[in-house]
Amino acid sequence: MNRAEIRMMRRLVAIALVAFGVPRVVAAQQGTGTISGVITDAASAEPLAGAQVFIASTRQGAMADAQGAYTIADVPAGTVTVRVRMLGYEAIERPITVTAGQETRLDVGLHRTAVTLEAMVVTATGAERTKEIGNSISTLNANEIASASASDPQQILAGRTPGVTVLANSGQPGAGGTIRLRGNNSVSQGNDPIIYIDGVRIFNGHTPTTVGGRQATMPLNDIDPADIDHIEVVKGPAATTLYGTEASGGVIQIFTKHGSDNRPIWSGSIGEGINNMGHVGPSDDPTGLFLNECRGPDLISSDSTRFEDPTCPASGSWLQNGAVQRYSLSVRGGNTTTNYYFSGNYADEAGVIRTGGNKDGGFRGNFSFRPMSGLDFALSSSYTKRKVNWVQDGNNGNGFLLNVSRGPYGNFQGSGCADSTVICVNNAAILTAPSVTNSDHYITGLTVTYNPGEKLNNRLSVGYDYNNALLTTLEPFGFPRADLGQLYWETWNRTLITMDYAGTFKQPFGGSFVSTSSWGGQIFDSRNTASSISASNFSGPGEPTLTSAALRDVTSDVKERVVNAGFFLQQELAWRDRLFVTAGLRVDGNSAFGKSFGLQPYPKLSASYVISDESFWPSSIIETMKLRGAVGESGKAPGAFDAVRTWDPIAAEDGQPAFTPSQLGNPNLGPERTREYEGGFDASALSGRLGVNFTYYKQHTFDALIPMVFPQSQGFLSSQLENVGQIFNNGIELSVDAELVRNPDFDWHARLNYTTINSKAGDLGGQDIVISSVMRTHVTEGYPVPSYFGMKVLNPNAFADPVIDSSAFLGSEYPNKIISPSTSITFLKHFTLDVLGEFQRGGYLLNALGFQNAYKGVWRPCYDVQAKMRAAQAGDASALNDVTALQRMRCTQVSKDHNYDYWVESSDFFRLRNISLTYDLPSHLIGGVRNASLTFAAQNLFTVTDYTGTDPEVNDYRDNSFGRRDYYNFPSYRTFLASLRVTF
């Protein structure tokens, strides 16, 4: 934008403001000077890149560069207050006198602190200081994000924030995971947190599940980690009330990088590495479910049935090291009026099976324009294109792991074996059936901020989130299990339009008090369009289209739109800038509510007290202590038309139009509501070297939308949502940060996050809710949500006949304890070692792979047991003397005893999520470059678990995301990555 265009823009804005009745404000142009200086760590004297320096009461400011240097030009002459902030450091304010036409120097050393009360976080009403907020809000800063060496936001969130559960779901590149904030508080309406990117709400779920891959991508993962400045995690309804209906699962806000008032700064990174799979399945299986080893003498079943697969790769293993490439480049810069941030990224990640992989790339442009003091325009746009090649997986007759691990009993019997006496399989045929997700994700948002003075703030955001995906699974002509071929084709489009306004008015009164009134409203327009077609019987070979098929079946066609609108009012009262009491009310309407429901009110009340500001507080020991407490409500709306009795159009009588009952309807349907109480403290001691954040929360979901079964003799078979249930969650979140050693040559920082999530279903209207009978997944009064129920061996380790409880609680499907230790050590000035591990405890998982393969005689831990069972059958009863009761039920090959229930296993695990070593290249090695670093990182380096399936984190079939099971799903792989980051 040249100067003439800027002038033109200013004129247009001025005209617009006059039209709104806003008096024209003339920017002070005469008598300005410049402030410059360097921001450093007060203890180590190291420069603090990214520190924010700005003039109080204005929007003028700059960001410190890699050397900690900053410059703010056009500062009005006179005395101004300079504020310096950086996450992890105490904020500082310094008065300084600026002389017209001169440069004034201000160097600042910041002190580290584990608790930063002056840091700004963005709430529904706008930016607020941490000290004012009565809830727990976790922030991940740019350094933590960079040290994660993550490929997507899901990996960043895993283990780094208390209260957050991340389960990977699959080891296929591109697969989306499951994210929960404080567990599950809804049975029917999903528990995914809502997500904002730079103030624009985006679709927070997954794309549809592919027919072949049985997994789905997650649009959240389209945000490139290199673009993220920081992430805020707002966990429960006590904090999310003002976000309205649907926010009871929490809120994740991602803020991407923006420009700075500097000359252009370029940053680039190149990452090269490999994906590698370790041993798969039970440790005593030398073949790793015949994946690690697909050739040799161990290809044998429990009854000595041998098999060969001539299509096994020459390496003797189906697994490969998949190449990983990641590239990103960005430039940021600007001046006092405009700034910009452009970036582009590309990643190509091959899977550990040769046809699997993920490619994604995109670009981002963030622009800010300040035509006059107090008025800002911020435009953020991003586009990501992704292609995932899935390996056929999961509960799928063409599933690769399903067929390979079944050895001689897979579905791809074939020819070409050297030994004519063995069973011959050709599993490579599976890899000729591609399953692909192609997606486009575009996000754009314009935020206008108008602050005509310190007292009044207005923010208006308009955003558009566009997701489009094409999912195909092709069984080509001549494919062994579909001779004439078959094509599954689905298009999916999901858009979300956001309009969001918030205003605040701040007014001091009575000497010690400040009143802050906030008001605002949002409109969310969500549209979902999806069509799927199954086409089969192609005329011949070649790449088919839908029209190549003789038979075409439109299997679904959805065009759905739901609008949610609401407004809020909030009043905060501050006393001496240390006690803050806030009351708020959110009122929502939703077009899916039943006719009897109008607007839904959600109240909140919170308080924050910085008790360490009191004179009686022993600040010499604990320098910062903030007590906080909050209560608030949020809710989730039912789906479109859930309130109405409907019929589905179908085909019958060989293609004739027909109707069948669809949904009973409930005109009294309303949102379910979650009320949460939370209390805790944020403390910093020992000169900021020890920080503790503690929160206890208690949630009560009432009027829970429960899918109730109605008498089938009434003709409507689908369950109908009713507001009848209750769900209780409570737990604690503890984060302890310790600066163990602090000096310029050796710096050792450690953190421990500890989370408990205790979930229990309350009154469910007298029903035991069966989520999936096959998956043994229930929601039952008095038990975690959801849980496995079924038959249980009461004497599992006894060398005796099993004693069976036919209807027992088998375990929670989600963990109830998460412990994440992490540490960061900087040594020899230039080296930094980051390590993050995570324990998840208390969860259980149905190992359906073990269940199926044991019965077929291809589950290695049962080989010895099954031999003894055969001996016992032959008359040697003593053969079972050292076979436990649980082994007898798991390894049985008697149809009537064979049952999933015995395969619900503890999914406790420890996983080394990330370990990385970074070398900051010394300046004498990088002439002409601001800074450069080299990082060697490993993700998921090892896992410790007693779970015998493929991976305690996997889940089959993403559409049914509430219950979980392991059904021949690829486990998580390890990623080794070397990356070079350069700033110049």
């Binding site: 959805v558 085909a651 009952p661 069966v770």
Partner: protein, 401 residues
């Protein structure tokens, strides 16, 4: 200055209100049809097609379970519920889908008939749609009666399973009367007669059952319609045997029957010439060929069944000669040679076999085994579940149970 703050805020709010006023807040979800939109004559063909569709869906999905619990096929796959049926155990939980599908087929037809009467008025009696609607109601009730232990009607209390047959009798009678009154509806009239004959027999009225059966031509067939047009219209037995290998003829009586056109099956070999195993990797897979593709239709009523019904009526009158004559008339229809039996007992043996062959995989065997077991004529169901219990969902949700 404060005044300007307020003006600014009102300006922004006004802009917001203007933006909101331009918004369309309506929810849209095209596809599902609101119940009231069916109250038009134009919707009646679709409503009746839906009755047919729901009946075929219920029958098509239940056939696999009925086949394995009746010894018509063996379980050779991975589905756990089917394995339970095969082992002779049917729990209320396992009954959920099939009970639901059958009840929906009944409710859609019976409720649809009432809607048709309201919407069509006098025209109801002159449209063939009404005949079809009564037929679907009758066959849905018969399917429930032949499989279920108890009757439950529209959220009502538990009743004798014979209630289904009584309702079917009434439905078939209504269909027959309309077909006769309208004229030119011979196929629908024969279907009504065949349906009524069967349910009257099950109610113990063998005389009138035989009288109805006698009016049905030997080569008459009235089918439940299946199609490869959409997945919902598929014949699931065909899918589970020709796409998957979940059920096998191996291990049944019929695995030793070769060349009977009523019981066609073959074996599938691997590349090594061995018998292919089922989906469970263990059970030899013998593939039924009665339904070679997912569009294969399933008979609801047949003239040959009527011959056997008349034969059974004769046997119950201790007339094995007439019975054998009718059985051989049935066999001749399929090109099979005549058989003979010296006495009543051996005629019963032949009759039981013939009904098994003629009605193979049509969802009828379970009822035959159940009623013969109750009369002491057959032991297959000894120690096994003899009928489908009221489903767990019905028990949980119906306040009258």
């Amino acid at each position: 200055m404060r005044h300007s703050f307020l003006r600014a805020s009102w300006g922004v709010l006004a802009a917001g209100v203007l933006l909101c006023a331009a918004c369309d807040f309506s929810v849209t979800n095209p596809g599902p049809i609101e119940d009231s939109q069916l109250n038009t004559p134009a919707a009646m063909p679709g409503l009746v097609n839906g009755m047919s569709g729901d009946l075929s869906y219920a029958l098509g999905n239940f056939l696999e379970d009925l086949a394995v619990t009746s010894g018509e096929l063996s379980h050779s796959g991975n589905y756990s519920v089917e394995r339970e049926y095969y082992l002779g155990t049917v729990t209320p939980e396992d009954a959920n889908p099939d009970w639901g599908d059958m009840q929906r087929a009944r409710w859609v037809a019976e409720n649809g008939i009432e809607r048709m009467k309201t919407v069509l008025g006098d025209e109801f009696n002159t449209t063939p749609l009404a005949i079809r609607a009564y037929l679907y109601a009758g066959f849905a009730n018969r399917l429930l009666g032949e499989t279920s232990c108890s009757a439950v009607i529209d959220d009502g209390p538990k009743q004798s399973d014979s209630v289904y047959f009584q309702r079917a009798d009434s439905d078939f009678t209504q269909a027959l009367q309309l077909a006769q009154a309208q004229g030119g509806q011979d196929t629908l009239a024969s279907a009504a007669l065949a349906g009524r004959a069967s349910v009257r027999a099950w109610l113990g009225d063998w005389t009138n059952a035989a009288a109805d059966a006698q009016q049905v031509p030997d080569d008459f067939v009235f089918n439940a319609i299946f199609s490869d047009n959409t997945e919902r219209e598929n014949n699931q037995v065909a899918y589970e045997t020709h796409t998957r290998r979940e059920i096998s003829v191996w291990g049944t009586t019929w695995a030793t029957v070769f060349g009977d056109p009523r019981v066609p099956w073959d074996s599938v070999k691997t590349s090594k010439g061995a018998i292919q195993t089922g989906q469970d990797g263990k059970t030899p897979f013998f593939r039924e060929q009665k339904y070679p593709d997912v569009g294969a239709e399933v008979p609801l009523a047949k003239g040959t069944e009527m011959l056997l019904l008349r034969a059974e009526a004769a046997l119950r009158n201790n007339d094995p000669t007439t019975a054998m004559s009718l059985i051989n008339e049935e066999r001749a229809t399929y090109g099979l040679p005549a058989e003979s039996a010296p006495d009543v007992d051996s005629t019963w043996t032949i009759l039981k076999y013939e009904r098994g062959a003629v009605l193979w995989l049509e969802g009828r065997r379970f009822w035959d085994l159940r009623r013969w077991n109750a009369e002491g004529r057959d032991t297959f169901l000894d120690g096994r579940t003899k009928c489908v219990p009221i489903s767990a969902n019905e028990l949980a949700a119906n306040p009258n149970l």
